[in-house]
C-alpha cells in the first residue's frame, strides 16, 4: 500500500509526475471533476487546522468524491482513549483514503502501518508536513519555472517548523540549491536536519540572525510563524513570536523577482502592507495546495487500485 509520510517517499521522477498532474489539473479542472466519484476521503484531524483540512476537503470535492472525518481529538474516539492503530483500522472500513493530522510525531506512520487504505500525513507534530511541501514545490516550480538553481531563505521558527524541515528534505534533491537559514539562536534548525540532511549531502547553507542581511540574495523567501502550540513555556513564545516581521521597507532590499511564501496562517510575521506587493505569493500558494492535493489523492488511489488489481 502506497502512503505519503514524508516528501522523500516520492522519487524525483515521481514527484515530477505528480507536479505535472497538478499542473494539468490547474489548467483543465473540468476534466477531473468526476475523477473520484464514489470515493471517500476520511479527514482525521486530531488538532485544529483550518487550511490543511479544508484544502483536503476542497481537493476531494473538486474530484467529485465525498469527505467524512473529525476536526479535533475531542470529537473523535481518541477522547475515549482509543489508539491510533485501532482508529485507522476502523476508518479503513469507511473510506478509500485517509488524511491524518496529529500532534504527536510519527502518528501518521503508526496509522500507515495498520491501514488498509492509503494514508496521507497531513502533519505530525513538529516533524513532517509533506503536503505543505508538495504545495511549496508546486508553487515554486509554477512561479519560478524550476526547482534547481535557487537560493532559498527560510525565516522564523526553523526548530519546530515542520514545513521547513520537509521543504529542505525535498529541495536538496535538486541541483544547485542553496539555503539561507534565518532564525534566532533558540529556534535554529535541529541537528537531524542540519547534520544528517544538509551537511551529509554537502548542500551549501548559511545561518543568519538578521533578515535584512539575507534578503538581498534570495530567490525565494519562505516565512514561518512561531507556533504557540510547540512551546512548553509561554514566556519563550512571547519573547520569540515577533522576532521577524517582513515589512514594505524590508521588501525594498529584496530582488525584484523574489517570491515571498508562507504556509499560512500568518500572524504578525508578514505585515499586511506586503500583501499588495506582486512578489507576495502566499495566497496563490494556498490555491496550489488544492491542486497538488488533488493530484496526490488521484495518484495514491490509482496506486491502491493497482495493488488490489494485482492481489
Amino acid at each position: 500500500m502506497r502512503h505519503l509520510m514524508s516528501p522523500l517517499d516520492f522519487s524525483v521522477e515521481e514527484l515530477d509526475r505528480l507536479l505535472d498532474l497538478a499542473g494539468d489539473i490547474e489548467r483543465n479542472q473540468k476534466k477531473y471533476a468526476r475523477a473520484c466519484e464514489g470515493k471517500k476521503l476520511a479527514a482525521c484531524f486530531y488538532e485544529p487546522s483550518t487550511r490543511t483540512r479544508l484544502s483536503f476537503e476542497a481537493a476531494m470535492l473538486n474530484l467529485g468524491g465525498s469527505v467524512l472525518g473529525f476536526s479535533s481529538a475531542d470529537s473523535s474516539s481518541a477522547s475515549k482513549g482509543e489508539s491510533i492503530s485501532d482508529t485507522i483500522r476502523v476508518i479503513s472500513c469507511y473510506a478509500d483514503i485517509c488524511a491524518i493530522r496529529h500532534p504527536k510525531e510519527g502518528a501518521a506512520l503508526v496509522a500507515a502501518q495498520k491501514s488498509a487504505i492509503p494514508v496521507i500525513n497531513a502533519g505530525d507534530g513538529g516533524h513532517q508536513h509533506p503536503t505543505q511541501t508538495l504545495t511549496d514545490l508546486l508553487t515554486i516550480r509554477s512561479l519560478k519555472g524550476r526547482l534547481g538553481g535557487l537560493t532559498i531563505g527560510l525565516c522564523g521558527d526553523l526548530k519546530f517548523g515542520r514545513t521547513v524541515h520537509s521543504l529542505i528534505n525535498a529541495l536538496i534533491r535538486y541541483e544547485n540549491v542553496r539555503f539561507v537559514l534565518i532564525s534566532p539562536e533558540e529556534l535554529r534548525l535541529p541537528d537531524y536536519i542540519r547534520e544528517d540532511v544538509l551537511v551529509a549531502n554537502g548542500v551549501p547553507f548559511e545561518e543568519m540572525e538578521r533578515l535584512e542581511d539575507a534578503i538581498g540574495e534570495l530567490d525565494v523567501l519562505y516565512m514561518t510563524r512561531v507556533q504557540r502550540e510547540r512551546f512548553f513555556n509561554e514566556e519563550d513564545y512571547i519573547r520569540l513570536k515577533d522576532y521577524y516581521i517582513l515589512t514594505r521597507e524590508k521588501m525594498l532590499l529584496a530582488p525584484s523577482d523574489m517570491l515571498v511564501l508562507h504556509p499560512l496562517p500568518r500572524v504578525n510575521e508578514i505585515s499586511v502592507e506586503v500583501d499588495d506587493d506582486p512578489r507576495a505569493s502566499y495566497f496563490k500558494q494556498a490555491q496550489y495546495g488544492v491542486y497538488v492535493r488533488m493530484a496526490l489523492i488521484l495518484t495514491l488511489l490509482d496506486a491502491a487500485k493497482e495493488d488490489s488489481d494485482n492481489a
Binding site: S85, P103, K104, E105, G106, A107, V110, D124, G125, Y192
Partner: protein, 148 residues
C-alpha cells in the same frame, strides 16, 4: 588474587568497561536465565587498566548479540566448549534496536500509543547515531557516549 573457576560450556563476555557489568547483566536479561552467572568487577587488564567480565554457563544462542553490540561493540565474546575457547564472536552495531531504549522526545507518538515497539534505526555508523523510527529523535549508542 580472587579465583573464579572457569566454565566448561557457555560464554565469557570480556573487556567490559569497568562498572558496566551489572547494567549489561540486566540489559541482556541474564537475570532471567536459570544457569550459573559470574560477574567479575574491576579485574586487572593490560589493555584497559581495569575491566569487568561476565561468565555465563549456558549456550551462546541465549545471548542477544545485537543488544550487546549496541551497548558496546568493543566487548569480546568468547564461546567456550569443552573447557576451551572455540570461537570469538565479533560484535557490530545493529542496524535496528527494538525495545532496548525508549524515545525521550515527549512529542513522540511512542509516548502515547499503547503496545508500540520502541524502534531505533542506525542512521550514522561512524558517529554511532540511532534515530527513533517515528520522530527521528537522536540517540548516540551507549558505547560511543562512554568513549567520549
Amino acid at each position: 588474587m580472587l579465583n573464579i573457576s572457569g566454565i566448561s560450556e557457555g560464554f565469557v563476555l570480556d573487556h567490559i568497561q569497568a562498572g558496566m557489568s551489572l547494567q549489561i547483566y540486566y540489559d541482556l536479561k541474564l537475570d532471567k536465565l536459570d544457569c550459573q552467572v559470574a560477574i567479575i568487577k574491576n579485574a586487572r587488564s593490560n589493555k584497559m587498566g581495569k575491566k569487568d567480565i561476565i561468565k555465563v554457563e549456558c549456550p551462546v544462542e541465549a545471548l542477544d548479540l545485537d543488544i550487546l553490540g549496541f551497548i558496546d561493540h568493543d566487548i569480546t565474546v568468547n564461546v567456550i566448549q569443552g573447557d576451551r575457547i572455540v570461537e570469538k564472536k565479533a560484535l557490530m552495531l545493529p542496524k535496528q534496536v527494538r525495545n532496548v531504549i525508549r524515545c525521550k522526545n515527549p512529542r513522540c507518538v511512542t509516548s502515547v500509543e499503547q503496545e508500540l515497539d520502541q524502534i531505533f534505526f542506525l542512521t550514522d555508523e561512524e558517529r554511532e547515531v540511532y534515530r527513533c523510527k517515528y520522530c527521528e529523535e537522536k540517540y548516540v549508542s551507549p558505547g560511543k557516549r562512554r568513549r567520549k
